[in-house]
Every structure is written in structure tokens, then in C-alpha cells.
């Protein structure tokens, strides 16, 4: 099930809210049980056959968590973590990578059968979440949770279950046992959810239509300007699609008393690739930093080891996003840029005027999304060739069409990529007049209502509505 669906918005969510809030606050366990059952139902909507896999993941992390607790012997704890890692990698390896590896080995001449495995929704997200729990318990950063219901709720909590953000156990540890749902939190969560829904329905979907249409074009007749617009449309689509999902997840969490950490902080205003990755998919990059890069030695063991560590992290970041060589190259591209900024051109970049730094960063990011979007490396190379070396000169009318067809979305995407809302909020807060304060309080709520209406119109009139990050 996706948040931007009639089944979720009109049926699932109202039913869950009604049942959840009918249970008195003091019966926390019962409220948690309601949330767990609805979360499992939410997952089952995408195909109940993978419910067993989700429950197996819960069991693995619950049991491994018990043995990874600080009161166990060091050997037992190490083995518990190793078991969790091996089992998680085995599940991921089979469900996500078996076909890719078999295909790659076949390409090298080995006569291997290629297993046809359907990728369970959200496996990369809930696996990483569960693993972080076991590691945090073994490190003593989180208390071992002996209540199976609470571990199950942590792993399966529906807002972030299928498309993130990756919520650490330490973030919600206290809230699972004793959270305080308030009217103000519920309302602010609702506003966040509705803004996310509108971002998805009004911006991401329109940009997705444009990007898909360009990508479906015959490259031999594609003009360079059109290819650039297609790449830019996808750049906006992936941001507004994924950040919208994170907004909705964070908002829904808030409605049930959870405070998830931010996953995006206006990544397209970054003035270096390093800064971009501090603003983009923060929960994933911090996961790799804390559970892989730093344990490998991070930057503490000399330049060569640091480069190796970065390479490992970015190879895996690429593969985490998808089992294809395009994702590996996408990871390698960022690895190259980050190493370059760290050791080669970082100093020069810092001295450049801000607009130039921004252009450099966006160029690097837009190129990366071409690899991300392309169905194959060959297609990515061909698309980049059209972008940079020019395409069919006579087909320029298409680019005018894409500009005019989606002109409201281009403008809104540009505006929404900038921290204008924060600037406005700060300005109103500084003004401090009663009218400014009233706008600060009521403005978001009124906007959210208008956006709900607009998003509902788009939803009910049907059309293009995929979620990109569901495939991970």
C-alpha cells in the first residue's frame, strides 16, 4: 500500500486512527498492538506472501538482540551480531541480489541458472533498521528489548516500513514504551503528512511524467535541450518523490507520538557533493557512516585506508539502491567526487564563488541521476552523450513542449527546492506581531487543507502515481 492511494487515505488511515485513539492512552501495550497489527496489514497489502519474511526479520533481530545484550559474554555478543549480519545479508543476497550476481556470472561465461526472485517491498529498509538495533544493543548504545511486541513494532512500524527513513532504535526507544500523543503533535504531523502528499501528487508525479516521456524517446531523435530537461525532471522527481515519502512518514509518526529524524535538508542548495550527502537521505548515509565507515577505520588510519573505506561504503551504497551495474557506477561516481573533494579539488572548490560551486554540485548530481534512472550502462552513456555532445538539432520543439506543459511544476519545484518556507517562517517569527504569529500558526494548517483538496483531486482523477523508492 502506498500513502498516496485512496485505500490508504480514505480507508486505512481513518480506520487505524479511530481504533488507535479509541484505546485509552494508559493501555500503551494495547495501542502498540493496534499499531503493530495495522502495520502488518499495511505490509500485507503489497502481497501477503512476504509477511513471513518480515516476521522472520523481526525474529532474527529480536533473538540476536537478546544475545547481543551487554550482560552476555563478549564472544556471544560478537556471534549474535555476526549471526544477524550473516542472516540479513543472506536474505538480502537471495531476494535482492541473486539474480544480478547470477546474470553477471553468466556474462562471464559460467553456465548458471538465473533465479527469478520477486523483490519484497522495503526489504532494504527493514533489514538495515533491524541490523542497527542489534549493533546498537551490542555496543551498549541501546538497551536490549526483551518485549517481542516492541521489537516487532520497531521493525514493522508502517510509516517508515517500506520506503524509509531508516529509523534507529535509539531514536524511538523511549517512545515505543512511553510516548505522549498530543493534539498539537497530531496536528503538526498531519500538516507534515499533507504537505508530503501534495509534494508527491502535484510535483513528483508531474515531473515523473515528463522524465518518463523523455526517457522513452528514441535517443537518435532527441535534442540535447530535451535530454537536459528529462534529466532535470528526473532530478526533481526523485527528490520530491522520496522526500515526500519521508515527509509523510515523519508526519504519520508524529500523529502517533513518534519523532523520527529528518531525512532531507534541501539537498539541492548544497555547494559541494560532500554537503549534498549531508542533506540527502541522511538516515542512509549516517547508517553507512556509523555501521560501516567508522568501524572500518574511517579517516583515522591514513589516506590509503580512508580511500579504501570510502570505496567500500560507496560500492555498497550503490548496490543498496539496486542490483544493477548502473547503481554500482552511480555509487562509484559519488565515491570519485567525494575523494576528489577531500584530497584533490576541495580547496579550489572552497575558493570559487558560491554560484559556481552550486553549478558544479548540481551538474554532478544531475549526471548521477542519469545513471540512477537509466535501464543500462549503455543507455546512460547514450543519454549523457546527447546531453553533452548534442543530439538531433531539429527536435528542439519537444523541449519547448516540456517547458510549457509543466511550467507550473517547474516553477514550484524550483521554489520548493529552496528553503523559502524556512525563510518566511523566520521572518514572521522575527516580526513578532500578533498578526505574524497568527499567520505562523494558522498558515500551515490552511495551506495543508488546500493541498489536501488539490492532492485528492489528482488522486481520484487517476493517472501516474509510482513511488521510486519502493523498489529498494
Amino acid at each position: 500500500m502506498v500513502f498516496s492511494s485512496v485505500s490508504f487515505l480514505v480507508f486505512f488511515l481513518p480506520c487505524l486512527l479511530a481504533v488507535y485513539y479509541l484505546v485509552p492512552k494508559r493501555l500503551r501495550t494495547l495501542r502498540n498492538l493496534v499499531l503493530l497489527l495495522f502495520s502488518l496489514a499495511f505490509y500485507a497489502f503489497g502481497g501477503a506472501r512476504y509477511l513471513a519474511l518480515l516476521l522472520a526479520s523481526v525474529a532474527i533481530h529480536y533473538v540476536c538482540g537478546l544475545f547481543a545484550a551487554p550482560d552476555r559474554a563478549a564472544t556471544v555478543r560478537r556471534r549474535a551480531v555476526a549471526a544477524a549480519v550473516v542472516l540479513d545479508l543472506a536474505l538480502l543476497g537471495w531476494f535482492k541480489y541473486a539474480g544480478f550476481f547470477a546474470l553477471t556470472l553468466r556474462g562471464l561465461g559460467l553456465p548458471l541458472p538465473v533465479p527469478q526472485v520477486v523483490l519484497p517491498i522495503g526489504i532494504s529498509f527493514f533489514t538495515f533498521q533491524g541490523l542497527s538495533y542489534v549493533i546498537d544493543v551490542s555496543r551498549g548504545d541501546a538497551a536490549c528489548q526483551r518485549d517481542l511486541l516492541r521489537v516487532a513494532l520497531y521493525v514493522t512500524l508502517f510509516p517508515q516500513l517500506v520506503a524509509g527513513p531508516i529509523v534507529r532504535y535509539t531514536t524511538v526507544e523511549r517512545e515505543i514504551g512511553a510516548r505522549d500523543e498530543t493534539v498539537e503533535d497530531f496536528a503538526s504531523g498531519l500538516v507534515r503528512f499533507l504537505f508530503g502528499l501534495a509534494k508527491k501528487m502535484l510535483l513528483a508525479n508531474a515531473m515523473g511524467e515528463a522524465a518518463d516521456a523523455v526517457w522513452a524517446s528514441d535517443l537518435s531523435s532527441l535534442a540535447a535541450a530535451t535530454a537536459w530537461l528529462g534529466a532535470l525532471a528526473y532530478t526533481f522527481q526523485i527528490y520530491f518523490d522520496f522526500s515526500a515519502y519521508s515527509d509523510m512518514a515523519i508526519g504519520l509518526g508524529r500523529m502517533f507520538g513518534f519523532r523520527f529524524l529528518e531525512n532531507f535538508r534541501y539537498p539541492y542548495i548544497a555547494s559541494s557533493v560532500t554537503e549534498f550527502w549531508r542533506r540527502w537521505h541522511i538516515s542512509l548515509s549516517s547508517w553507512f557512516r556509523d555501521y560501516l565507515y567508522i568501524p572500518l577505520g574511517g579517516s583515522r588510519r591514513g589516506r590509503a585506508v580512508q580511500v579504501r573505506n570510502l570505496a567500500v561504503v560507496w560500492l555498497l551504497t550503490g548496490l543498496w539502491h539496486g542490483a544493477a551495474w548502473t547503481f554500482v557506477v552511480w555509487g562509484a561516481w559519488f565515491c570519485l567526487l567525494l575523494i576528489g573533494e577531500k584530497f584533490v579539488w576541495g580547496g579550489l572548490l572552497a575558493r570559487l564563488p558560491a554560484p559556481l560551486r552550486h553549478v558544479y554540485t548540481m551538474l554532478a548530481v544531475v549526471v548521477s541521476w542519469v545513471f540512477f534512472r537509466a535501464p543500462s550502462l549503455g543507455a546512460a552513456a547514450a543519454f549523457l552523450r546527447v546531453m553533452f555532445l548534442g543530439g538531433a538539432a531539429s527536435a528542439g520543439g519537444e523541449s519547448v513542449y516540456y517547458l510549457l506543459q509543466y511550467w507550473p511544476e517547474w516553477l514550484l519545484c524550483l521554489a520548493a527546492s529552496l528553503p523559502l518556507r524556512d525563510l518566511l517562517r523566520d521572518r514572521l517569527a522575527r516580526r513578532g506581531t500578533p498578526a505574524a504569529s497568527a499567520v505562523l500558526v494558522a498558515g500551515p494548517a490552511l495551506c495543508a487543507l488546500v493541498l489536501l483538496g488539490a492532492a485528492y483531486v489528482k488522486l481520484v482523477s487517476g493517472g501516474f502515481n509510482p513511488f521510486i523508492y519502493f523498489q529498494f
Binding site: V6, V10, P14, F45, A48, L190, V191, A442, A448, L459
Partner: protein, 405 residues
Amino acid sequence: MEKFRRAVSLGLIAAVSLFLLAALVLTLRARSRDYSFYENRMLAPRPVLTAAGMLDGSYFSALEDWLIDHAAGHNALSRLDVRADLLLRRPRVNDVVARGDLLLPWNDYESVSEDAVSAAAARMADNLASVDALVSSYGGRFCYAAVPCQYAYYEDRYPAYLNSRAVYTRLSRASLAAALSARGVAFLDMGPLFDSLGHPPEFSSSVDNHYGILGAYETYRALLDVLDPGGAAIPRLAAEDFTAETLPQPYLGSRMRKLLGAWPAEERLTILTPNEPVPFTRTDDGRPSPSVVYALPGADSAWVTYDLYMGGDSGNTVIDTQRPDLPTLLIYGDSFTNAVECLAYLSFDQMHSLDLRNYSGELTLGAYIEAYRPDYVVCLRDYEALLLTAANGVGVGGTKEGVSP
């Protein structure tokens, strides 16, 4: 301010709750429908719950499709979405290009290969030549007629950045004309003729792909000139032999339908009634039908569609005027034949009409011609379908799936 904040929070929660509750109740109470008139499509059926569907998720996916189609206010909200897109002046709304008073079709961008068009024209010409050879073998006469569809008639009304298909249209007409000429097959292209008559808007429609009855009348006249140049064998009806009547109901053209009626309806359809009626019998797919060629809307009907002419597409229609001294005609093709048929039967003893897209009979095109041996055979298609060898573009051995001669 805290009180105000709480009031705003409660107000927002109440408003959203009411909105969702209303959507839920209205959706549950909505009448289940199978067909969407405006969208001209079958609506998603209510899925049947099965264990397999639950396990692989297809049940819930189908349920979402059904919910979207049956959600409260689906039509009204879809129309609102169309109105918003028109207001924002998007070049393309639901695959329609609104240009002033015209609703034109959206054409995908395409790269036109001269070689590919020539090859397609040669294949089409081969099919038509096989029909021509068969008809000529028993002394009949065959003609392939091409009429401009709406995007071709108004190709100059597209903005330069959209695809009017002008290049493809020009190439396909020229290639086919050359290929048919090389094979000795008569070819009538109505485009230049419409131009010579001043290219009036009445020969096409502002809101539909088809022409109206006036364009059809010119096509009827031109066809008879090609089939019977001297005018000795086939009687022709002049314009003054008809009474024109414009229907009061607005014309719901296919483009307006795509815009869910969110466009001011100004165009009206006309019918031409002969001043001296010719009695006839009519069968459709072998079954007797009322002896009418215009499916006139009821007085309470809000709209009229192109189905006015001949009652819409039919696989096989036979009109018999019981005048054995006159020749017989077979006219086959896509729905552009319908408006011409409303007039053509007046000049023949029997008029057979075939639309191989809908024909459910056993006969191939060649077998049908062999069975009835019509004196004149006409294939009538629009520019868009000019080179399509499937369905009505088949040769004598062809079935509707498009098997070549």
C-alpha cells in the same frame, strides 16, 4: 496564542477528519458502474478476493484501481482537474490540444523515415492492387479514397513546437499516390479537393476526428466522379436535392469527451435528407434493422455524437433500395465511411458496407467481394490510417487481423 494554536490544531483535525469521513461514506454509498461515458472506457471491475490475489498483492492493487474509478466525485473531480489544466494553458490536456475554438489531437513526437514510409506505402498498395485485380476480373471498378482526418485538416493550427504530423502526412500521401499509380489503382485524395473548395471549416470538425456531413457529401460526389466519370451509370444527387437540418443538441466530439465535457459546446451536427426519399431495407450483421441512416437523438438527449451517422460503426451493413436497374456498391473502411454511407445508398440498388475492425462474419474481404460481386468497390480511409495494412487495409485474402493477400 496557546489557545489559538490549540484551536487551529483542533480545527485542522476536524476539517481533515470530516473530509476523509465524507470521502469514505460517499465512496461506499456510490453506485457501482461498469462504464464511464466521458472517458469512453470500461471502469475497473470490483476484484474478487482470492488466496492467490492476497498473497501476491494483485487483489489490493485491483481494489485500488476500483476505488479510484468509483471514488466519490470521480467525474466531477476529474473535470475539475481538466478545467485547472485548461486554465493553466497547458499545451496538452488529456491528449487534447486546445487551440482557440479547436480541440485537436495530441500527436506523439516521431521521427519520420522516408524509406519506411515508402515501404509501408508499397505494402499498402500491394494489398489494394489485389482488391483492384479481383474487382476488375469480373468487370467491376475499385477506388481507394483518402480523406483528411482532423489533425491533417488543421495541421497549420498546431504551434510549431508540437507535432502536427505534416511531414508524415505529406510523405505518406505522395508515396501512396505514386505506388498506386504504378499499379494502376484508382486513388482519390480529398485533401486537394477540399483545398480547391476553399478549405472551409465545415468539411471537418472542431471537436472530433471525423468530418461532418458536408465533407462527406463532397467525398460522395468526388467518388462518383472517379467511379463513373461520364455520369451515365450512377445517378448523382446534387446539393439542392437535399434538405439540410442542423440538430439542436450540441455535438459531443471525441475531443470534448476526452475533456469530460469541460469545454463550451458550440458545434452542431447536420443531416442531409433527400427531398425525394428512397425507401430501403437495412440489415446489420445479417439482422434486420430500422430503415434509417441517421440515429437521431431523443428530444431529452443532451448530446449528439458522430454515431448519428449510420448509428455508429457496424461490422457489416446492407442497404437494399430494390432498384435493380442501378449498380451495386461495396464500401469498406473505418468510421469515416459512415457519413458517406448516409448519402451513397441513394445512388445504388444495394449498398454493402464492411468495417473489418468489427466484422464478425466468416468471409475474407476477397471472399465477400466474390460472393456479392459489387459493381463498384470503394475503400475509404483517413490520412491517419492511410498506410495501415491491418483491419480495413488488408488485401483480398486478408482477415481483420491483417493477413496480407
